[in-house]
C-alpha cells in the first residue's frame, strides 16, 4: 500500500517558484529521503503535504485518499505528522505539555493519552527525567528529540521530518538518527528531508533529489550514494574546475 502519493505538485510563493511538477511516492513502512541543496524546495514540499501551504496544482494522496480539501489540522488527526524545520517546539511550555499537545489531534480519552505518554516516555527516557522543565531551556539536540517524541504522541502512520540534523553536533545527530530508526522499526513510515546526504542514505531505502524545485534524480540509496550526479546537486557541476 502506498502511504503517500504526490502527482505533479507545484507550489508558488507569489511570483517565486517553490516546487514544480514533483511526482513521488512513499510505500507504507518505508523510509524515504528527500535530498537537495538549500533552496531546492524540500521543505516547501513537506509543507504542501501537511497543508500549511497550498499547492497550486497537483494531487496528494494519503493511503489512497485525496487530501486536497482537508484542512491541515485534520490531516494530523488522519495520521500524517510533520516535524518542521527548526523543530518549532513550544518554548514557553514544559516538556510534558509539549508532549501532551502532540496527542491533541487524536481524540483519545485522558486514560489513553496518559498510556500513550508513558509509551513515548519509555522510548525517550531523557524526556521523562526532565518532564517539568520548560522546553525553551533545552539544547538544540534535546529540542529535536522532543520534537520527534511530540510527533510520536499521536501515533502517526507517516512521520515527515525536516532537517533533523540541522545545527546538531555529531553525537546528537547519532542519537536523533537512532531514534528515527526506532520509530521506523515500529512500523511508522518516514519521509525525511535532509541535507546531510550520507546520513540520510544510510537509513533511507530510497531517495529523491531535488534541484531548483524539481526532482532531478531518484532511486534506491545504495545506487544513489555512488552517483556523481548527486554530488553535482550539492557542490556544483564543475568538478574539475573550469577557470
Amino acid at each position: 500500500m502506498k502511504a503517500l502519493e504526490l502527482e505533479e505538485i507545484s507550489v508558488y510563493y507569489g511570483p517565486v517558484r517553490g516546487v514544480e511538477n514533483v511526482t513521488l511516492d512513499v510505500e507504507e513502512g518505508e523510509i524515504v529521503a528527500l535530498l537537495g541543496a538549500n533552496g531546492a524546495g524540500k521543505s516547501t514540499l513537506l509543507k504542501a503535504i501537511s497543508g500549511i501551504i497550498h499547492q497550486k496544482q497537483g494531487i496528494i494522496k494519503f493511503f489512497g485518499e485525496d487530501f486536497h480539501r482537508m484542512s491541515p489540522h485534520r490531516r494530523v488527526v488522519g495520521g500524517l505528522v510533520h516535524v518542521p524545520e527548526g523543530r518549532r517546539i513550544f518554548t514557553a511550555l514544559t516538556i510534558g505539555e509539549n508532549l501532551e499537545l502532540g496527542a491533541y489531534g487524536t481524540k483519545t480519552g485522558r486514560v489513553e493519552r496518559s498510556e500513550r505518554l508513558s509509551e513515548v516516555l519509555a522510548m525517550f527516557p531523557f524526556l521523562k527525567e526532565h518532564f517539568k522543565r520548560l522546553a525553551g531551556t533545552l539544547s538544540g539536540g534535546e529540542q529535536q528529540v522532543l520534537a520527534i517524541a511530540r510527533a510520536m504522541m499521536s501515533n502517526p502512520k507517516v512521520l515527515m521530518i525536516d532537517e533533523p540534523s540541522l545545527g546538531l553536533d555529531p553525537q546528537k545527530i547519532d542519537i536523533v538518527y537512532d531514534l528515527l530508526q526506532e520509530v521506523a522499526a515500529i512500523g511508522t513510515t518516514v519521509l525525511l528531508v535532509e541535507q546531510n546526504v550520507k546520513l540520510a542514505l544510510e537509513i533511507a531505502a530510497r531517495a529523491y533529489v531535488l534541484q531548483q524545485g524539481s526532482v532531478v534524480l531518484s532511486g534506491v540509496s545504495s545506487s544513489l550514494i555512488n552517483d556523481p550526479r548527486l554530488s553535482d546537486a550539492y557542490l556544483g557541476k564543475a568538478a574539475d574546475g573550469d577557470h
Binding site: 500549511i52 494530523v76 518542521p84 518549532r88 517546539i89 513550544f90 511550555l93 489531534g105 487524536t106 499521536s154
Partner: protein
C-alpha cells in the same frame, strides 16, 4: 492609616473589575496581537442585556432573589461570550492576513457599532438606566472602615473566575493548546490543533468574563450607561499592559495595581483626575519596564 486602608479596600474592589475585563484583552492580545477595542463594549452590551433580562424576571417580585441573579448572570456570560465569538468570526477572522493597523481600526468601528446599536435600541438609549437589582448596604467594619458584603462577594467571585481562567489556561489540554497557538500558530496546526476554534474559544472566554463583570457592575453601582464600556475598557487595557499583556496572572495583578493606584489617586486629587492618574501610571510603567510587571522580554530576532 485608616484612610489608606480604605483606599486599599476600594482599590482591590475596583481592581477586581479591571482584572476581569483585562483578562479578555490580555487573552485576545496574547493570541492575535490585537488590541480589541470593542472588548469594553462587550462589557457594556452585557450590562444592558442583563438589565433587560433581570427586569423581566424580577417583575412581580418584591425583593431580590439572588439565585435568580446568579442564573441570569450565567446566561449573560454565555450570551456575551457568544457576542465576542461572533465578532471574531465576522470581523477579525476574515482579516487575519490584514495589517494589524487595519484590524485595530475595524475594532474601533465595531466598538462604534455596539455603542450606537445600544443607543438606538428602544428601551435602552442614551440616559442612565437604573439597574433592577442592587446590593444591600449592610456590611462589616475593618477598623473604622466600612465595607459591604456585596463588595466582598464581588471580590470573591472575581477571584474565583480569575482562578478558573488561570487553571483552565495552565492545566487543561485546551489551555495548553491556547498557549501553543499564541506562541506559534503553524506549529500548533501541525499538532492537529484547530487554531480557528481555539481563537474562537478565547474570544468566548474573554466575552464571558466581561459579561460577569457587567452584571456585578450593574448590581453594585446600580446604574448603567451606553458609554460605560469605553472608560472601563480603557482602564482595563491599561491594567493588562501594566501586568504584562498576554499574561493571565499579569492581567489580574495589573488590575489590582491599577485599582489601588487609581483609588489612592482619586483620594488625593479627586475623582475627575482618575483617568489621568491611570495613564500617568501607564506611561511611567512603560518608561521603566516596557514589557509590564510579569511580561517577559521578547528576544530581538529577525
Amino acid at each position: 492609616m485608616s484612610l489608606l486602608l480604605n483606599e486599599l479596600g476600594n482599590g482591590i474592589f475596583l481592581g477586581a473589575f479591571f482584572g476581569l475585563i483585562a483578562l479578555g484583552y490580555s487573552m485576545v492580545y496574547g493570541i492575535l496581537r490585537l488590541i480589541n477595542f470593542a472588548h469594553g463594549d462587550f462589557f457594556m452590551v452585557a450590562a444592558f442585556v442583563s438589565y433587560t433580562v433581570l427586569g423581566a424576571v424580577m417583575v412581580g417580585h418584591s425583593h431580590t432573589h439572588w439565585f435568580t441573579v446568579v442564573w441570569v448572570g450565567l446566561l449573560v456570560m454565555v450570551l456575551t461570550g457568544g457576542l465576542a465569538t461572533l465578532a471574531n468570526q465576522l470581523v477579525y477572522r476574515p482579516m487575519r492576513r490584514a495589517a494589524i493597523l487595519s484590524m485595530m481600526i475595524a475594532a474601533i468601528g465595531l466598538s462604534q457599532v455596539l455603542e450606537n446599536g445600544v443607543l438606538v435600541t428602544p428601551g435602552w438609549g442614551a440616559t442612565y438606566l437604573v439597574y433592577p437589582v442592587t446590593t444591600p448596604p449592610s456590611g462589616f467594619y475593618v477598623g473604622s472602615n466600612h465595607f459591604t458584603w456585596g463588595q466582598l462577594i464581588i471580590v470573591v467571585i472575581s477571584g474565583l473566575l480569575g482562578l478558573g481562567v488561570y487553571l483552565l489556561v495552565g492545566r487543561t489540554l485546551l489551555g495548553k493548546a491556547m498557549r501553543a497557538v499564541s506562541e506559534d500558530q503553524t506549529a500548533a496546526v501541525l499538532m492537529g490543533i484547530n487554531v480557528d476554534l481555539v481563537i474562537a474559544i478565547v474570544f468566548f472566554i474573554g466575552g464571558a468574563l466581561a459579561g460577569a463583570a457587567a452584571v456585578m457592575t450593574g448590581v453594585y453601582y446600580g446604574q448603567i450607561n451606553y458609554l460605560m464600556g469605553f472608560t472601563v475598557g480603557l482602564e482595563a487595557f491599561t491594567a493588562a499592559v501594566l501586568g504584562g499583556i498576554g499574561n493571565i496572572g499579569g492581567a489580574v495583578i495589573g488590575g489590582l495595581i491599577l485599582g489601588i493606584v487609581q483609588s489612592i489617586g482619586t483620594g488625593l486629587f479627586g475623582a475627575e483626575w482618575a483617568i489621568v492618574v491611570a495613564f500617568a501610571a501607564l506611561v511611567l510603567m512603560l518608561w521603566f519596564r516596557p514589557t509590564g510587571i510579569l511580561g517577559e522580554r521578547v528576544a530581538r530576532r529577525m
